[in-house]
Amino acid sequence: MNPDIVEIRPGVFSVLLNGRSYVIHEASSNWIALNSIEWERVVADPRLRATAGPAAASAIRDVKAAMPGKVVRLLANSGDTVEAGQGLLILEAMKMQNELRSPRAGVVAAVRVAEGTTVASGQVLVTLE
């Protein structure tokens, strides 16, 4: 059965499908809420496949800040061998300190920030070999 879709207001949709009611909220292109539960929609573009999905962790070289903050402590140095999940540094934001962990096992090629550095979202903090 085809879904019955109406746009309630810009970016908010009511969908009726097989007798059930769904509400979808869209935010930016990648985020939606389906019946109020949020999802990030990752389009599996073949050109992006190399960096998406579970296989991608082994390919990550640059560890980036997920959000703006301040580096309060370095937990790894250049040349260190780290395990997957091992803490690399501690970032502080919103009164909370958060440990940034290594996405994979490897050797730290370079630590790009110092203690006290204020970093922007997406900034490269640590590079793995």
Binding site: F13, Y22, H25, A27, S28, W31, A33, I37, K95, N98
Partner: protein
């Protein structure tokens, strides 16, 4: 009554106080930093004063700037909210010096109850129960052995100058006491330049239960019952409720804890709103922990079960009114639960998540109260606490309240930043939470799990809406889904 009140805070608590001022027809002054120029508080206030740059050390923590703003706007009282300067005796003194009423207890009460050790001494002096232990540093092993066997194992060794778990050791039996003392002392020496340690009875899986107090400037003091706040993460409360599930098992507990809290508050000459925090062990023994000399984040659950407005009462009492209620006037009805909506990512170790709220849908309906400091389009700053809003519900009984909170959460949508709505929905479905079987380390072992990605019709509906002009599913679009 005051003519004009300055609210020396930000976020949801500034909004909460501004609303009370509007209800009392008192003019209001909001304050703001660079990050908060577009805040909801500024929009809801009659007047607003700029404090300075975003870091709180240059804005919300600046006594001089706050008093200058109060002077410039002609405010005759200041409400400090919670956090920031709310428990700062110097701020209370500076307000008095500037001829502005500080809406809270006296400077002397804040000093008497301000540090854990002085509050503990005060509690001991009036015979209120504290966690059994030594008050002075332990100097030798035989003394430690004697005291440990007296208070009973397990015991906790703590650094006298300490905090943050440094210099702390749990000791299960006498055989490991000597080594643990040595380790704790050397760790304390390294961390705090003081090797002094003391002993305390180790409480296993205690509950955190606190008593709301209210007093006037004429010596009248009552309690408004308890709040259970055992669900904590990193010592931060996330869900609070009143009454405590323990109250149903032991109706005398509220009265006994209330009396202990009142004794401590009376000894400190306490006035206005305050909270005595206790730990409660498995045998329902309770131990005084500390006093919060201010309004608490979780005050709405007390308001919902007592039908009182604590901020209105704070205003009256600070203005010199006699407490309009006696202890016997206080009645508790039904059950209230509150959860704290934070800008954080439960799927990523609760990483803070500042940024723009792109879409916001808020709950309403029977028994729902929302204390929010945000709106759609608001940019949640990275400079402050990640609390966005408090969602509280009231229902005739606890299980209905849990179901109602779950329902309200299911109506809530926050997009653009990560949040803990789904974490709460999972937590409220946990059998231990439903049974009221709570303790302060519960969340250390609670494992949040991402929901399963949508499939079948749900996925089809989501994809259909994603491209509303496409009547059927585009076969070429393969999608992966990741929950926040």
């Amino acid at each position: 009554m005051f003519r004009k009140v300055l609210v020396a805070n930000r976020g949801e608590i500034a909004v909460r106080v501004l609303r009370a001022l509007r209800e009392r027809r008192i003019a209001s002054v909001a304050v703001y930093s660079d990050a908060d120029r577009k805040s909801l508080a500024v929009q809801l206030a009659d007047e607003a004063a700029y404090l300075g740059p975003s870091p709180s050390s240059e804005s919300y923590l600046r006594i001089d700037k706050l008093l200058a703003a109060a002077r410039a706007h002609g405010a005759d009282a200041i409400h400090p909210g919670y956090g920031f300067l709310s428990e700062n005796a110097d701020f209370a003194a500076a307000c008095a010096g500037a001829g502005v009423t500080f809406i809270g207890p006296s400077e002397a009460s804040i000093r008497a109850l301000g540090s854990k050790t002085s509050a503990r001494q005060l509690a001991l002096s009036v015979g209120a129960p504290v966690v059994p232990g030594t008050d002075a540093a332990i100097t030798d092993l035989s003394e430690a052995k004697r005291i440990a066997s007296q208070i009973g194992y397990p015991v906790m060794i703590k650094a006298a100058a300490g905090g943050g778990g440094k210099g702390m050791r749990m000791v299960e039996s006498e055989s490991s006491l000597e080594a643990a003392l040595r380790d704790a002392a050397s760790e304390a020496e390294r961390s705090f330049k003081s090797a002094e340690v003391y002993l305390e009875k180790a409480l296993i899986h205690p509950r955190h239960i606190e008593i709301q107090l209210l007093g006037d400037n004429h010596g009248n003091l009552i309690h408004l019952g308890e709040r259970e706040c055992s669900l904590q993460r990193r010592h931060q409360k996330v869900i609070e409720e009143s009454p405590s599930p323990l109250s149903a098992l032991d109706p005398t507990l509220r009265h006994r804890m209330g009396e202990a809290a009142l004794k401590i508050a009376r000894a400190a000459g306490y006035s206005n709103a305050g909270t005595a925090e206790f730990l409660v062990d498995a045998d329902r023994n309770f131990y005084f922990l500390e006093m919060n000399t201010r309004l608490q984040v979780e005050h709405p659950v007390t308001e919902l079960v007592t039908s009182l407005d604590l901020v209105h009462l704070q205003l009256d009492l600070a203005a010199g009114a006699v407490l309009p209620l006696k202890q016997d006037d206080i009645r508790w009805t039904g059950h209230a639960i509150e959860c704290r909506l934070y800008a954080e990512d439960p799927a990523n170790n609760f990483f803070p998540s500042p940024g723009v709220i792109e879409r916001l849908e808020l709950p309403s309906g029977p028994g729902v109260r929302l204390d929010s400091g945000v709106y759609e389009g608001w940019n949640v700053p990275l400079d402050y606490d990640p609390l966005l809003a408090k969602l509280a519900v009231w229902a005739p009984d606890r299980l209905t309240a849990i179901a109602r909170l779950e329902r309200a959460l299911s109506e809530t949508v926050i997009l653009g930043i990560r949040n803990n709505i789904h974490f709460f929905r999972q937590l409220l479905a946990d059998p231990a939470v439903i049974a009221g079987d709570l303790h302060t380390t519960f969340l250390n072992t609670f494992r949040y799990q991402d929901p399963k990605p949508p499939s079948g019709d749900a996925l089809a509906a989501a994809l259909a809406a994603y491209r509303p002009n496409t009547a059927s599913l585009p076969r070429s679009r393969r999608s992966a889904w990741r929950n926040s």
